[in-house]
Symmetry: C2
Subunit: 402 residues, 2 copies
């Protein structure tokens, strides 16, 4: 294996990844636990919503014409014929000329009425109601199909369901919602310097922080992480865990050790069991990333350092997850900000700079690439395109929020 | 019960809610599933991190002074004494004057060396290494306590754990993390017009959209919703379900029907079993909200319409959840935006206007308060303070993102 990598641009790496993305699988989940999931099919309203002409206030159902000119000084006098009962259509409730009926919020507008006067603008004296405000036709009434029409597409497939969406899905009768199945992502840690989190590292050792970080990220992103622990840097051990993990997972992340030997071993094992498609991406941090494919499954060799691994996760792995989840719009949240200082960059590689964000100003967190603390002090990343020599102070950028 | 409510301002309602907030409870969870949870205690580094002087590149460990003046034309010639093994401290590895040792990324800097030259700037000829670039003292080395010092507070209690944080927690040895226990929130639906989501509504009936929306929201916000279904508008049924739910939950949300009768019944039952603290808040939408307390537990009577219920959830219930979760900074995400048009408002009540947000411009979604579709077409809320008559076109506001 060569000492120098054959580097591909970020866009090419992403295109390669997406090309062999597995198709989204589907499952049904109860609507109350569907928030955050991705709709796998369009949703149509199965009825008109609200389904009947509905009062949106507590008041009196009237014919609007009967209230014309009504005010505090000269109220309209209407005869009250009764009370609308909630939850059903009262066929006998009819509002004729110069009459009205008490209607609670949500009640069915009785035949003959075309508006509702809020109770605050009325006074009742036995069977007579004094209306002190004119209402126009349709006022305080929601028409039977005003919110959604039967058969109308309410949501398109690929949308990430919000809690409000869950309410609307329930209104549309979706007790169970068809969503993208959560991809199962295997995490295999390699590297002779790694020890488990529970162990106090000896000289030269570091705790396996990557596996926990990747698992937490994947969980938040709607995947199911499956941890395979730390594997010794021996080819047999590595091949054996991959053989076990591949049928159990949809994607494999090899959270590499940081040494070149380790990366070379990773690439050699992927090459022996499948194919190495990319070894080296023009991205900083994250250059020594490996993209491969074994038994039709995507396999990534991530850089060893958590900060680098995280950037590769966001920039390279996430587009694959988006595809597998059938996401129509990337979930990536961005915020526009002004750059606090000049940020130099090296032409020829896409650079991702961690920034802290305050009041619309993005300050780059420079420092050695190996630092964990920049990862938690930062609010997100800014991307410097491969062709640029850097970004100037005062220029406006999109910050990719963590 | 009076026909007119005794309205309290939003700030007062929130203060009342917070005053009787239950203390956060704690539990331990594995670090890899801790993202999104709230740290219940400060976290300190149990060791120096990285713990040893560590190379951040693949290259040669050198004495920086030996590389002074080195360049392509006149490389420094150093004697290579061997290779640093990953994952342990090699006591015998010492770099003396005019010598060097191969070191992989993450390797322990050998005694005597004070910098690392990247392999890209070297050439090896048997035991001799040609160094073509000068390095300064400390270059490409991460000092043993440069990331975190032993005993240093890495995270403060009250922080919401991000995936990156999970990585750092793992590095600090936290295999299990002490977090705020998820509050259990009971959801009881009332209202004679409500039918379950699985039922096609008859005339005058609507599906119970609120329960699913509230449950989805609470799940996303780190709580455990517990659904008690739709209860008939009868006092006995209502008291009986409350008696059952109270010991099982930390908070109760009564997702009311939309009629005044229903709200009055809710208030009467709370008053009979405990105390009504607030009945009516100067908030639009959401005025007919009830805040009560039964057996030391907070009980909310939410407005019947999903859009109103959602605003009350965000503005009034969420501060209580924040307290119960021990959140130091509200999770509320905001984004600054310019208002597209004048928004009139009524003095004396805090108004929440749903807006859609595009390229930094917030457009209010006017329309009848009873519409569901404004909830899903909007990206968030803007708050018009109780004292204001409205907001002018072009003014800059904070949008509370959903």
């Amino acid at each position: 294996m060569s000492r120098f990598l054959n580097i591909v641009p970020v866009a090419e790496a992403v295109a390669i990844v997406i090309r062999f993305s597995p198709e989204p699988a589907m499952e049904k989940v109860p609507v109350e636990s569907a928030a955050g999931r991705i709709l796998a099919a369009d949703i149509t309203a199965d009825t008109d919503i609200p389904g009947f002409d509905r009062s949106v206030v507590d008041g009196y159902a009237v014919r609007a014409a009967d209230t014309a000119g009504a005010g505090d000084a000269i109220p309209a006098l209407l005869h009250c014929t009764g009370r609308i009962t909630m939850g059903r259509q009262d066929e006998k409730a009819v509002v004729g000329p110069a009459s009205c009926a008490y209607i609670p919020t949500g009640g069915v507008l009785p035949a003959g009425a075309d508006a509702v006067v809020m109770v605050e603008y009325t006074e009742d004296e036995s069977d007579t109601v004094l209306v002190k405000k004119a209402v126009s036709h349709g006022e305080n009434v929601l028409l039977h199909d005003e919110d959604f029409k039967k058969g109308e597409i309410v949501f398109f497939a690929g949308r990430q369901i919000t809690p409000q969406d869950a309410g609307v899905l329930a209104a549309c009768g979706c007790a169970m919602v068809t969503v993208a199945k959560k991809p199962i992502v295997g995490i295999i840690s390699t590297g002779n310097e790694l020890v488990p989190v529970t162990v106090v590292p000896g000289p030269g050792q570091v705790r396996d922080a990557n596996a926990s970080m990747l698992a937490a990220y994947l969980t938040e992103y709607g995947c199911i992480p499956r941890l395979y622990g730390i594997i010794a840097d021996e080819r047999e051990a590595f091949e054996s865990v991959l053989t076990r993990a591949l049928p159990e997972c949809d994607v494999i992340l090899l959270s590499g050790g940081s040494s070149k030997d380790d990366r070379d071993m990773t690439a050699a094992v992927i090459a022996a069991m499948g194919k190495v498609l990319v070894h080296g991406i023009a991205i900083a941090p994250g250059k020594p990333t490996i993209i491969g494919r074994i038994a039709e499954k995507p396999v990534f060799g991530l850089p060893g350092h958590p900060a680098s691994a995280f950037v590769v996760l966001v920039a390279i792995v996430r587009p694959l997850l988006d595809r597998m989840l059938g996401i129509s719009q990337p979930l990536q949240r961005t915020e526009r900000a002004t750059i606090a200082v000049n940020i130099p960059s090296q032409r020829g590689r896409e650079e991702y700079v961690r920034v802290s964000l305050k009041n619309g100003v993005a300050t780059p967190l420079f420092g050695k690439s190996g630092l964990l603390n920049t990862l938690i002090r930062s609010n997100g990343l800014i991307r410097i395109p491969a062709g640029a020599e850097g970004l100037e102070q005062g220029s406006v950028v999109e910050v990719i929020l963590w």
